[in-house]
């Protein structure tokens, strides 16, 4: 087991843990607010608008998942695949 490999595993694990947390925490916050304080999400964006804040936050969550996925793909295809290639070439650290 090369040190470089350990680095790869550690970095990947930490990255994924962060991404998972960034995905789960806002989502559950949103769901809990929707369950226990739905009035908060029903507030309109402006006094004349028919769009509620819940709608805007929902869209932000969706766009957020796209961004996180893009972030993962970028790093997996770039940094992590790069390290994998280096390990395959026999590099050790």
């Amino acid at each position: 087991m090369t040190p470089l490999f350990n680095t790869l595993v550690r970095r990947r694990r930490r990255f994924v843990a962060c991404l998972t947390a960034v995905t789960i925490v806002p989502y559950y916050a949103f769901i809990l607010v929707a369950a226990y304080a739905p009035r908060l999400l029903a507030v309109k964006v402006t006094s004349t608008s028919i769009v509620s804040i819940g709608w805007v936050i929902g869209v932000m969550l969706i766009v957020g998942t796209w961004l996180l996925t893009g972030l993962y793909v970028r790093r997996a295809n770039g940094e992590f695949d790069g390290i994998t290639a280096r390990i395959l070439l026999g590099e050790h650290k």
Partner: protein, 229 residues
């Protein structure tokens, strides 16, 4: 004996799914529904025809390449587009549209939930089996340390996997992953279903082509050998 167990397990799953359906019905509407015979018949027709097509297609599979869709000619990006299309037609168009039509903006909760599920799958599951070459989820599941589907379901299976053979014909050790991310992700149902596959393999009753079985054996030998440095 194994077949009996398979049948029993399948029956258990079926009853589970119908139970939850019944619970949903009870919550949704208090009044009793008549049994919708035509819907049930349609459902069974779909199931049987799908199984039939699968059986027919698998009987034509002779090699690893044929085992995968379009002779493994589909790139990751194309596969992603196909998944996105599948997803948008069924979930977004039909489910969410009607949800918002009937329940107003509350439907947004369901839209968000759909979208959250996918990156979580990516981070917690797909990430773990990335770069594993042609090893499928079933291969990994069938190589768990404990092949008994019901025993030891509280245990994490920590497998060491290798990339499949490199292009130069040499075996190359690269990656070691914890195959099953966590107990939370691996529900008991998943486990039992995989265990069923495992039993089929063990007793040589897997219905794939013989070459595919040979490939699988090669993969399993790779896995058993462990990483080389």
């Amino acid at each position: 004996m194994n077949r009996v167990r398979q049948v029993l397990l399948s029956a258990a799953f079926l009853s589970l799914s119908t139970t939850s359906y019944a619970a949903f019905e009870a919550v949704g509407a208090a009044k009793a529904h008549e049994v919708n015979v035509s819907a049930i018949i349609m459902f069974l027709m779909f199931v049987v025809s799908t199984l039939g097509i699968t059986w027919w297609a698998s009987s034509k599979t002779r090699s690893m390449d044929e085992f995968y869709t379009a002779g493994s000619g589909i790139t990751g990006f194309q596969n992603g587009l196909a998944l996105a299309g599948d997803y948008m037609s069924a979930a977004a168009l039909l489910g969410v549209t009607s949800m918002i039509f009937f329940n107003g903006y509350d439907g947004m909760i369901y839209v968000v939930s759909f979208f959250i599920a996918w990156p979580l799958l990516l981070f917690l599951f797909a990430e773990r089996i990335r770069n594993l070459g042609r090893v499928t989820i079933a291969d990994i599941a069938s190589y768990r340390p404990d092949p008994d589907p019901l025993a030891g379901s509280g245990r994490l299976a920590d497998c060491r996997l290798l990339l499949s053979r490199g292009s130069n014909g040499r075996r190359r050790p690269t990656d070691r992953v914890v195959v099953w991310p966590s107990l939370q992700l691996r529900s008991d149902m998943c486990r039992v279903a995989d265990g069923g596959l495992c039993h089929l393999r063990r007793h040589g009753r897997h219905d794939m082509g013989s070459n595919h079985q040979g490939d699988l054996d090669a993969v399993r030998r790779d896995i058993a050998r462990g990483p080389r440095s």
